[in-house]
Amino acid sequence: MSMEIPYAVKVRTDTGMNNARLGLWLFLGSETMLFGGLISAYVFLRMGSASEQFVHDLSEIPLAGINTLILLASSVAITLSVWSLRDRVFNRHRILMGIAVAAGLLFLGLKWLDYSEKFGRGLYPATSTYLAIFFTLTGVHALHVIGGILVNSYLLVTGRKLFREDPDRLLSRVSASALYWNFVDAVWIVLFLLLYVV
């Protein structure tokens, strides 16, 4: 016996959104607290140490800048894919979702290059306070990117069947996933500014 979860797709009149979106907003609230705590630790370590003890290598800015542009492009792609699904143009949605997933993978690839280059120079989390918090912040963010890629890939693979059966349900899922992906992108922009620019 199967049970239909109420308001998983249909918008509630009292909250103005469906339960999937509401649940995701609550999840993003907890995620904000997680990254807020880590960023607060970064601020403590950075402000609490002398400048010569907290050296960060500015030569990585080009690579990190390219990664930022890639993640921004993936955010644009996934937002356009939601709009395509809203217009019931499945093929365009699929291509754009594929671009978003590919951009996420490219981001991880470049991040891995960045890590490999650091490990090659003997720079590990235990090397310095800056590297400890750098690897923690970027590593936790990379885990979130991996999670987003897995969910988006699942939606990409199973989307056609669901689109035929219940397009509104697919739209609800893709919208929720896009919201999460945009959040991950926004977190990266904050990390980019903190770790590489400021």
Partner: protein
């Protein structure tokens, strides 16, 4: 046996206090206002307050939104 635990703890605490000749604390606990660690802690606290405040503001705005949206729904006319 359990009745002896407070006495044992008191003796351990007494020995801990008496046995020490110097008290050691970090600059934050000690209250060294000019120390970078104290400065860093202050900035970290304000950062976390900002993040927590933003999340709480989100919850408050959602509660206000619920109040606003629930007004037009007349009693007995809610959707099933």
């Amino acid at each position: 046996m359990s009745k002896r635990i407070p006495y044992v703890l008191a003796v351990v605490f007494f020995l801990f206090i008496v046995g020490r000749t110097t008290a050691i604390s970090c600059p934050v606990c000690f209250g060294a206002l000019d120390d970078p660690a104290t400065n860093g802690m202050n900035y970290a606290i304000f950062t976390l307050l900002g993040v927590t405040g933003s999340v709480l503001a989100g919850f408050v705005s959602f509660a206000l939104r619920l109040r606003r949206l629930s007004r037009p729904v007349a009693p007995g006319k809610e959707e099933a």
